[in-house]
């Protein structure tokens, strides 16, 4: 209720002061895996537009539940394409605003150098105790990983060795701490300045799985928020795309 009042007040304020030149504020719910690029994008955007961006990071499922229950976000950058679509069905978004802001790259990665070969043949050898992946039910990186393994026909063989992270960051922790020798993680997690900084990896070709689309959507609460609309546009700009690519996403 408090949030709703706050939103109404914020919207009223925006309307009353509605000159495009006036700086507005936007609250953005950002999928945790997109934390680092979004910080950089937000900084660049603030500088350019004069608007203020307030970022919240977390699990997309949690954001979905929160938005449905009146959370004060105007923009939602999900880790998948399902939740924005679902929100659209729930009529909580501005129609036509949904778009793919990044496509994730899946990588089979190990913290040990030389453990994962550049073709991923290590999967067939099975000379490891645990292989980590994100919960396929929850995370697109997880379902993509299952697709890859299915194509190779080794899902059943590997199931006893699988450990699941609740999200892709937890999966990364399992592998980086060495508790799992290897795992399917996001390229964005292991890439730094355009190259894989440590360990060994097989960058899984896109054709092996459904694209891991990360969709953004303007929420109904952000309909009249100038900053939200501006940021949405900015995300599609070449400047933003360059930043996004540098973190290992396609777009």
């Amino acid at each position: 209720m408090k949030h709703v009042i706050k939103n109404i007040l914020a919207t009223l304020a925006t309307l009353l002061l509605a000159a495009p030149a006036v700086a507005a504020e936007v609250n953005v719910a950002v999928a945790a895996n997109f934390t680092a690029p979004m910080k950089q994008i937000a900084a660049a955007f603030e500088k350019e537009s004069g608007h203020k961006v307030v970022l919240s990071y977390g699990a997309s499922g949690k954001f979905y539940a929160q938005i449905k229950n009146g959370a004060p976000f105007q923009l939602f950058l999900s880790a998948d394409d399902e939740k924005p679509a679902q929100l659209e069905k729930d009529a909580l978004t501005v129609p036509g605003s949904r778009f793919t802001y990044a496509i994730g790259s899946l990588v089979l990665w190990s913290a040990k150098a030389g453990f994962v070969d550049p073709k991923g043949d290590v999967l067939g050898k099975g000379n490891f105790g645990k292989i980590a992946l994100a919960n396929p039910k929850l995370a697109p990186y997880g379902s993509a990983a299952i697709e890859v393994l299915t194509k190779r026909g080794i899902v059943t063989t590997l199931t006893p060795k699988m450990v699941q992270g609740e999200n892709i960051s937890q999966t990364f922790q399992f592998v980086s701490s060495g508790n799992a020798e290897l795992g399917f993680v996001a390229l964005s997690q292991v890439m730094k300045d355009g190259k894989i900084s440590n360990g060994s990896a097989w960058i899984v070709p896109d054709v092996l799985h459904t694209p891991i689309r990360q969709d953004a959507v303007l929420l109904a609460t952000g309909k009249d928020n100038a900053a939200a609309r501006a940021l949405l546009t900015y995300l599609k700009s070449e400047t933003a795309k360059k930043i996004i690519r540098s973190y290992g996403y396609n777009i």
Binding site: Q86, L138, V163, E166, Q170, F174
Partner: protein
């Protein structure tokens, strides 16, 4: 069926984990609580603080450190490998170990309070009647602090059942080994399967309520008699 097969499996696993943790902590926590209650040593303070740490640290932080410690490069991991236990994360026993640590204060503190409430006198009396310390502990202290044991066990059990952050970190969500009820509910929520989440949450809620109800009923009953 009200609950799915995987839900039932998660609940069964949770109960097994909680019972195991409670049992281990009874054995482990009792001497430590006894020492904390009786000792006048200067490092009683630091030990008491270490025991209470899990109360303060966020479970996700604790879980993260446990993942590192129990991992192949961590000290606990070295140890478990050296004695042939292998790596503990993603195993039932890893969860047991993590939960033992995480639930430690819930066992130790009520016990320590109970032991302190017994005081010196009964022990002195027992000694003058020829009872060794161990004998006095079992014949006097244990029965006199049975309420403390009951409270500590219930709290530990309930706390382990409700534990989430640590399990999430070191569990790996393996059905039948580490996918406990709280994680299962979380998965349902994250997967937007709200109906399943509601059903399971309801089961957990009713269960916890009944456990606590039993505890309070029993306590007020002994209070009346005591």
């Amino acid at each position: 069926m009200f609950l799915e097969q995987s839900d039932l499996q998660a609940i069964w696993l949770t109960l097994r984990l909680a019972s195991m943790v409670t049992g281990i902590l009874l054995l482990l926590g009792t001497p430590i609580a006894w020492w904390l209650a009786r000792s006048r040593s200067w490092f009683k303070g630091p030990i008491g603080a270490v025991v209470a740490l899990p109360l303060v640290l966020p479970p996700s932080v604790l879980g993260f450190y446990m993942l590192l410690a129990m991992g192949p490069n961590g000290p606990v991991g070295w140890l478990t490998k050296a004695v042939g236990l292998g790596n503990l994360p993603f195993t039932f026993w890893g969860l047991v170990l993590g939960s033992v640590f995480y639930s430690f204060p819930f066992m130790v503190q009520p016990l320590q309070n109970a032991f302190e409430a017994v005081g010196d006198r009964p022990l002195e009396v027992a000694a003058t009647l020829g009872a060794s310390r161990l004998d006095a502990f079992f014949s006097i202290v244990l029965p006199l602090s049975r309420r403390g044991f009951f409270t500590a066990s219930i709290l530990t059990f309930a706390h382990t059942v409700g534990e989430f952050g640590v399990v999430l970190m070191i569990g790996g969500n393996i059905p039948g080994a580490t996918r406990v009820a709280s994680v299962q509910i979380y998965d349902h929520v994250e997967a937007l399967e709200y109906a399943s989440a509601h059903r399971m949450a309801a089961v957990m809620l009713v269960f916890s309520f009944l456990v606590l109800l039993a505890l309070y009923a029993w306590r007020s009953d002994t209070q009346k008699r005591g």
